[in-house]
């Protein structure tokens, strides 16, 4: 009996051993891929940032050089405005769609989530069709007021593009969060005499807070790093990704481009990490 037990324990130990060893083997392809094409290049990027005439001070130049600082400020302001507007729009529509059943609701949800897979370049083109030289808004204002309104290539167009990009993603997160709200809390508030606005202010919106933090952080980080939309709109507004691109390809200023990229990466990473600490569940950024 004892012999049997011992042998069982040792086979179990053997199984665990080989299992850990096998798990280790399973990680080897990942380690190679990530080391070669992500970790090593990132290290190279950080090193290149400090390899220019300025040396390590290139990183300080992001904040000290006026042109870079203005660009950074523009980008942060634009990303913040996008985030706030997207959250407001997505909360109203998300709450409405999750709380009301009406004919055609599925179609509206499909319309709101259809642009999920659009890359930034396509979003830029959508904005050109809306507000560009041959755009819908231009045609409408020309007919109504005799004056062609074209703003696709300005800050307004960029803002509209970032909104277009982030609304579908944020709406999905908010709808999922609304679905998980406990309706009995609202009933209790109502039973205690709270009016409809008070219920929203004190029960519903605080309940959605984790979703606001998670999806807001993603909207912000995505807007900070968005390149395709700005590129398509060939905008004259200086945003950070466009600055990095022009520094790298037109000025061949590798060190500054690398330093700016590292700075941008740190900001977006920090925003998402903070949101994960304070917001609970996270959703990944894409595009």
């Amino acid at each position: 009996m004892i012999v049997f037990r011992r042998s069982r324990r040792s086979t179990r130990a053997a199984i665990v051993m080989t299992k850990r060893a096998f798990a280790g083997l399973c990680l080897i392809p990942l380690a190679i891929l990530v080391a070669a094409f992500f970790v090593l290049p990132l290290a190279r990027l950080v090193a290149t940032g400090a390899s220019g005439e300025l040396g390590i001070k290139a990183y300080a130049a992001i904040l000290l050089n006026e042109r870079y600082r203005t660009t950074l400020t523009n980008t942060v302001l634009l990303a913040a405005a996008t985030t706030i507007a997207t959250l407001a729009i997505a909360t109203v529509t998300g709450l409405f769609l999750q709380r009301h059943k009406f004919p055609g609701r599925a179609l509206v949800v499909a319309m709101l989530t259809f642009p999920l897979a659009f890359p930034g370049v396509v979003v830029g083109f959508m904005i050109i069709l809306l507000a560009g030289r041959q755009g819908l808004i231009g045609e409408a204002t020309l007919r109504l007021f005799g004056d062609k309104e074209v703003f696709a290539y300005s800050m307004g167009g960029l803002f509209l593009g970032y909104l277009y990009f982030s609304i579908p993603r944020v709406i999905l997160t908010i709808m999922a969060a609304v679905e998980k709200l406990d309706p009995s809390l609202e009933e209790a508030a109502r039973a205690l005499g709270a009016g409809p606005w008070a219920v929203y202010r004190d029960v519903v919106l605080p309940g959605l807070n984790p979703a606001f933090i998670a999806s807001g952080a993603i909207a912000f980080a995505t807007a900070m790093g968005a390149f395709g939309t700005a590129f398509t709109l060939a905008t004259d507004v200086a945003v950070l990704p466009m600055l990095i691109y022009t520094e790298f390809t037109l000025s061949a200023n590798f060190a500054v481009a690398a330093a700016l990229s590292v700075g941008l990466g740190l900001v977006t990473w920090a925003i998402l990490a903070l949101a994960r600490t304070y917001g609970g569940a996270t959703v990944a950024a894409a595009g």
């Binding site: 970790v39 409405f96 769609l97 509206v108 041959q134 999905l172 390149f227 941008l264």
Partner: protein, 266 residues
């Protein structure tokens, strides 16, 4: 009465938001088959722009599919075993690994592309081939595959299944093939849809990684937006929609049958 007014207000607002998103997409689909967009639909419907896109850009379409399926193959071979290992080990090291592989989601694609060019730009053969783009796509899409598979492992008792098979004498590789992979299938499918969709539409990395001889579809799109007439650019966008819509529908159906796992992976 007041409730009705609030309902109507919210409905109108929601419809306006939906219109903002869908009207330009419909306009571009229409423009792609209109003879002259400036003169409108009266100028007649035509497929000449779509044909022109095919002549000019069909190579980008094939290359995009090639890269998307290659990225899928890489993320399957690398990501599925890795997800299993991360789930089984569940120690500090595996959490650190998970953290590192999800970093590409938090860092803008432009920065990753610059990093890759600074590191491998000197290897002309590699730099000029589609494999260079694949490297970027594989790193960028990998976390989606790993997370989708991990999400499934979290809902089933994979350890007991694994140990059960082990006690029956199955070798680790066989257990992985015959027990783990079949059980992870929903996650693998969700992850695969994500990887292919993201790779087909990827621009931020690809614009920098591609060369004039290795353009992908989104790179060609940017090119056509800048230099082609609106009808051609629209027809090209239409081709992209036709490619991406079945994938989106598949994801929706899948999300419907499996709760919000796909949404969570995103």
């Amino acid at each position: 009465m007041r409730d009705r007014a609030i309902f109507a207000g919210q409905l109108i607002f929601t419809l306006l938001v939906a219109a903002f998103l869908i009207v330009p997409a419909l306009l571009s689909m229409l423009a792609g088959v209109t003879a002259n967009y400036f003169r409108g639909i009266r100028s007649g419907l035509t497929l000449q722009w779509v044909l022109q896109v095919w002549e000019l850009y069909s190579d980008t379409i094939f290359r995009s599919f090639l890269i998307a399926f290659a990225a899928l193959a890489v993320t399957l071979v690398v990501g599925v075993p890795a997800a299993y290992a991360l789930h089984i080990r569940n120690d500090r090291l595996s959490r650190a690994v998970e953290e590192i592989i999800t970093l590409p989601l938090a860092i803008p694609g432009l920065a990753i592309a610059l990093a890759l060019i600074l590191t491998y730009g000197g290897f002309a053969g590699f730099r000029g081939s589609w494999l260079f783009i694949l490297a970027g796509h594989a790193v960028f899409t990998l976390p989606f595959m790993v997370r989708a598979v991990l999400a499934v492992f979290a809902t089933i008792d994979i350890k007991t299944l694994d140990e059960g098979a082990a006690s029956l004498g199955a070798a680790p590789w066989r257990r992985f093939r015959d027990v783990i992979v079949p059980n992870a299938r929903p996650g693998i499918l969700a992850g695969s849809l994500m990887v292919v969709t993201l790779s087909l539409g990827e621009f931020n990395l690809t614009w920098m990684l591609s060369t004039p001889l290795t353009k992908t579809l989104p790179v060609g799109l940017a090119d056509s937006y800048a230099s082609m007439r609106l009808e051609v650019a629209s027809a090209y966008t239409l081709v992209f929609f036709v490619m991406i819509i079945p994938l989106l529908i598949a994801m929706q159906i899948f999300a419907g049958t499996r709760g919000s796992a796909v949404g969570a992976a995103r």
